[in-house]
Symmetry: C2
Subunit: 414 residues, 2 copies
């Protein structure tokens, strides 16, 4: 059978019965309109969308290709691989084959209109070498950085997107509940992490977490026990753990977990591209008092943030409030990490990527808006001993918030 | 306890007892010398190393930072986070704190020498926005693309590196052997994949596979059963599978696996950053004859490649040989994918990344050299029905090859 025939005739039914859902047309049109708003504001006539998640956000497919999106007129999908599948996945009607990057200008002229005078492209991630090729292909065009357009458009989630994060959060709930049955004294961190991930995948977790960055990688399996939790690493977070090697110096290690020590599990899940991020504490037997107290402080800080979450609340002010509260609770030197190594945020926006707007952080003085989603993660770190912390992903609602990761917040003692 | 104190006093012992091994000084010096050779050839006076795996290759740490590496003189590690850990992990003696990218020129002047006239940086991956910042910081400097230097240096693996790939291959062996016990009729592809990964992690697989690309992501869990194996996707490989959603349209899906159908498992493992790639076939009960035959053809093609693997063999000629053999065996229209969708390679170099040199591919006419490592993966695809295939990672030896993924090559029938 011909592959294209199979995709045209069978793909839709085959995929839908397997819970593989395509983007609804109406949701896509709302996104296109949001992005058009940003293009007008930035004075960008047309976009060449190169980055996978921006491309997916607007087209509903992450097949390999480029999207040309003029302010006036319809978007054009140019697909390297696989064309028929992109047509089946995307509600965009127009998808044409892209044989070579050199063909992009003529595809645009043929299928759309004359070339625009200015073209936006995501300069925050586009490699120099690819940019140089584009510059040669479009002589005389004015290039603009479109990353701000996407960052702004994507920071407010639609009810459809929030529902996908809620579903990712439900998978996370199953992981943490499952963890109660899996955790045993003497098991290594990485074994526990692997088994938690197997639970997550069984329920549809997509396995990779995405970050918009050249070098920053997201690890799905932070399981940090005892002293592992006291180790800081490359990641801009309160602690990183030992990891498995200097090539992966973050997350679970081969350390065997012991009774009564803190076991911090920071686990991200992903459903249809949308991520939820969540942290809970486990212990085998009763946790040592020092860490119960630290955990209670994290809960208090977490609750103090949520108490003020609503449209209009200032993100930097929320962050500063947590610093004051941590000091008052006696954790000034351990809140968000050891002295000198504390990251400057307690919350990060989350959606298709783990580092979206808003940041609940120093230097981020702007208001929360309805539809924003972010993870709030107060943590307390004692080098040589361990870490305590709690994390939930929340959505800002009309007059407050909704927790999208609603599994129990007690310490999971087994 | 102070974090820096803990790292200086306890980290080495803590990490070594957990199988977290640092790069030996001698291995690092060999690598520096290899890269110096490339710098001389390309006329590059000094490198600013920005990409994580290039940075790790030369320094032995993947803490967040930049490496300045002058042709004359010692490399300088500039570390954003975490400095003490970079000092503990890297055999490089000099590591200095990097507060802001703006401080790079003065750090170089202070700790090394006057600024060079030309500076190499990896333009194949460096985002335009970061490059622009560097251009402002180093006015008047001539920038050169250093990616070729790394690609060439890293294409030949040392015995130390080959041993790490061998260890990754051993983990893969445990995964496939473990799969025999895990696979059950009616299990979903993603559940099977998750459980295989849990086995891999238990034995030290690091979970993420790395690819040098803006958008290309590697998925560790290709489990493709029956018609899933006949579906092509974005990835430049014979088939991609359905995946879990349009955001992850590759790899395992929620499809329940049935008896007698082909179940292709393509599983990459990673140990201390070094990857092995491997494919085997499973079936519940006896596999349908069509796929047994196709699998035998893949084995024949695989063996025909290996038969000629030795220093001096031409990569393109090896690829063309497989095309002729596939046609002779009656698989001209299904070898490496459906007509019109066939990738142009049957093998890819592998090491810290999945797309290194050499490529056993059309257009890659250059000789194999001792120390090269690559995966060879003949596959046969029938849209609507399924796929068959075999993959091993091999090292080129003085007069032949070594298979680094030596698990049994029979069909794993359960």
């Amino acid at each position: 059978m011909d592959h294209g025939d199979w995709i045209r005739k069978k793909f839709r039914r085959f995929s839908q019965t397997l819970g593989f859902h395509c983007l609804p047309l109406e949701e896509m049109e709302n996104r296109l309109e949001r992005v058009r708003g940003g293009m007008r504001k930035e004075g960008i006539e047309a976009l060449l969308v190169v980055q996978k998640m921006d491309f997916y956000y607007l087209s509903g497919t992450s097949q390999d290709g480029l999207l040309f999106f003029p302010l006036e007129g319809k978007p054009l999908l140019m697909i390297r691989r696989e064309l028929e599948r992109a047509r089946a996945e995307s509600p965009l009607k127009d998808a044409v084959p892209l044989k070579s990057i050199r063909g992009v200008p003529s595809l645009i002229r043929k299928h759309r209109t004359k070339l625009p005078k200015s073209l936006g492209v995501e300069l925050d991630v586009l490699p120099v070498r690819e940019y140089s090729k584009f510059q040669e292909l479009f002589p005389g065009i004015r290039w603009k950085d479109s990353s701000v357009v996407f960052r702004e458009a994507r920071k407010i989630k639609s009810p459809f997107e929030i529902d996908l994060i809620r579903k990712a959060g439900e998978i996370g709930g199953k992981v943490y509940e499952g963890g109660r049955k899996i955790l045993k004294e003497g098991m290594t961190e990485i074994e526990f992490g692997g088994l938690l991930e197997a639970v997550a995948k069984r329920y549809g977790h997509e396995g990779l977490l995405r970050v918009r960055s050249l070098n920053y990688e997201a690890y799905t399996w932070h399981v940090l026990s005892g002293p592992s939790g006291g180790i800081v690493s490359q990641s801009d977070s309160p602690m990183g753990g030992l990891g498995l090697s200097p090539a992966f110096p973050v997350g679970a290690s081969r350390r065997r977990m012991k009774a009564r020590e803190p076991i911090l599990v920071d686990f991200g899940t992903c459903y249809h591209g949308y991520q939820a991020d969540e942290t809970r504490m486990f212990s085998v037997g009763k946790l040592r008092k020092k860490f119960i107290d630290a955990y209670q402080a994290c809960r208090e800080i977490h609750d103090a943030v949520l108490e003020e979450v609503r449209p209009g609340a200032d993100c930097e002010a929320l962050f500063m409030k947590t610093l004051r509260l941590a000091r008052r609770l006696g954790y000034g030197d351990s809140y968000l990490g050891p002295p000198g190594l504390q990251p400057r945020f307690v919350g990060h926006g989350i959606g298709l990527e783990l580092n979206e707007l808003p940041f609940i952080a120093r230097g981020h003085s702007y208001p929360l808006e309805e539809g924003m989603t972010f993870a709030v993660e107060p943590k307390i770190v004692f080098p040589g001993e361990g870490a305590a912390g709690l994390e939930n992903t929340v959505a800002v609602t009309k007059d407050g918030y909704e927790i999208l990761t609603p599994v129990g917040q007690e310490i999971f003692e087994v």
